[in-house]
Structure formats: structure tokens, C-alpha cells
Subunit: 145 residues, 2 copies
């Protein structure tokens, strides 16, 4: 079974590129710097279902992404979550939070309708992040759809 990005994630997110294991997505909601890391393994719903080597690689990619996000966006807190109650394909939310952002201090899910990016906002956010990502990241943009 080959990995294919879940249709709901493809529709909700900009694709920014890939680490060795994880696809990097940007949720199309400009209210928060909200990124999603999706390990390119078919049929996986839970982190513990990955084999030990993949799991270690995924968490190292998550840590590198987390550092890059906090360096680029100077948040007050990072929220990290694997929920998957609605979209079963394993995906890790990485959300930069600010004291005073629209949902603070609550989690972001279900608080406000998403505010899609304008082209200028999207370009600003991508340009802020890309220089902080490690050498193992390959940029390759695709729009939601």
C-alpha cells in the first residue's frame, strides 16, 4: 500500500515540502502559525504503530520543526498534538501560540472558523520559516485542493 495524503488534509492545507519521513503542511488558517507533519507511511493511525526507527525519526523531525517554528515565529508556547478523531491518517499538529491569540489559552480546535491565507500572508509565513528548517527538508509547494 503506497502512502497517499488523506483527501481532507490535502483540502485543508498548503503543502510546503518534506523531511525524510514527514510531509510538512500549513493549515489554511492564518489565525495561527499552524503546521502539520504527516509521516509518509500508509495505514498508520497512531504514533505507536510506527516501527521504532520511524518513530524515532518522526520525533526528531518534530523537534527540528518545533525549534524552527519557535525561532521563526517567536511564540509564547508550542502546542503539539496527534488527535485524529476526524481524519484517521496519523498527523502531528504543531501550533505556535501567543498569549492573546484568538483562542488563547484554550486549544485551537473548534474555536473559530478558519481564516484562509491571502497570497501575501502565505508568502510571508513561508519566507519566515524556510531559512530555519534543517538541511534535510526539501521545499515543494502545492496549494490546497
Amino acid at each position: 500500500m503506497n502512502f497517499e495524503l488523506h483527501a481532507q488534509l490535502a483540502q485543508d492545507c498548503h503543502r510546503l515540502g518534506r523531511f525524510e519521513l514527514g510531509l510538512l503542511l500549513l493549515m489554511d488558517d492564518a489565525s495561527y502559525p499552524w503546521f502539520v507533519l504527516v509521516p509518509q507511511r500508509a495505514g498508520v493511525r497512531e504514533v505507536y504503530e510506527l516501527d521504532a526507527a520511524d518513530r524515532a525519526l518522526l520525533w526528531e523531525e518534530s523537534a527540528a520543526l518545533s525549534r524552527a517554528l519557535m525561532a521563526a515565529f517567536r511564540g509564547d508556547k508550542l502546542n503539539l498534538a496527534a488527535l485524529g478523531n476526524v481524519v484517521p491518517q496519523l498527523h502531528l499538529h504543531h501550533i505556535v501560540r501567543y498569549a492573546g491569540d484568538p483562542a488563547w489559552p484554550a486549544p485551537v480546535w473548534g474555536r473559530h472558523p478558519p481564516r484562509p491565507y491571502t497570497a501575501a500572508e502565505l508568502e510571508r509565513r513561508r519566507a519566515a520559516l524556510l531559512p530555519h528548517l534543517p538541511a534535510g527538508f526539501t521545499a515543494a509547494y502545492a496549494a490546497p485542493g
Copy 2:
């Protein structure tokens, strides 16, 4: 600086014991099998702030806990999250979810007031989990407070 469990976590949770790195807590909300893993390292707010060896150990303990939870409680999905917007000490939520539970399919935070355990419910939940935890876990109960 020595590790000390954050007062809010101590007040909200039953302490069940410890892995090598992580304290295992049970949120005092019987609505869900809701567990919290707290690495015993002082002054850490984000996963990526742990050194690489601690981070690897924490995620292996999280995977072992996750497997044990799903074996014990037969959930439909596991929710895994490090939020920390309110309690800054790094802590990882592990919440067993069922289609049709009180918050499903939304995340659990902020949906319903917590429903404290009765002594009998607490004993049932502990007894269901303990046999599934790995040999590296040491049970040591302490009540919320």
C-alpha cells in the same frame, strides 16, 4: 534545580507511579481514560528542550504507555498532546477516546466539567491498566492534593 510536580497537576490528578523518566498521572475526570506523562526534569516547557536522550526515552515511554492504554481500554482512538498553555511544566496527555464519548469527536479540553472518580471507579481503572504496563514502570499511588 530539582524536579517537582507542578501544583496544578498534583491537584488535578491521581499519581499512579513512574517510568524511568516520566511520572504517570491519571486526570481526576472519570469521563475518559485520561493519563498524563510528566518527564522528571526541572524547568522544561517544550519537548524539544529535552536533550536528545531524554526525548527519545520520553517518546518510548509514551509509546509503551499508549500500547498499554489501548490494550487495557480498547479505545477507538488515542489522543496525544503537549499543550501547556495553562500549566507550563511539560506534560503529555494520553487520552483514550471512544466514538460516542461525551466530547467525541472534539478534543476533550473545555467541553465538560471534570467528573471526579469514585473510589470504586478509580480502583477499576487502575486495575485494568497496571498489568499492561512494562516492567520499567513502578507503581506508587498518591491521591490528588
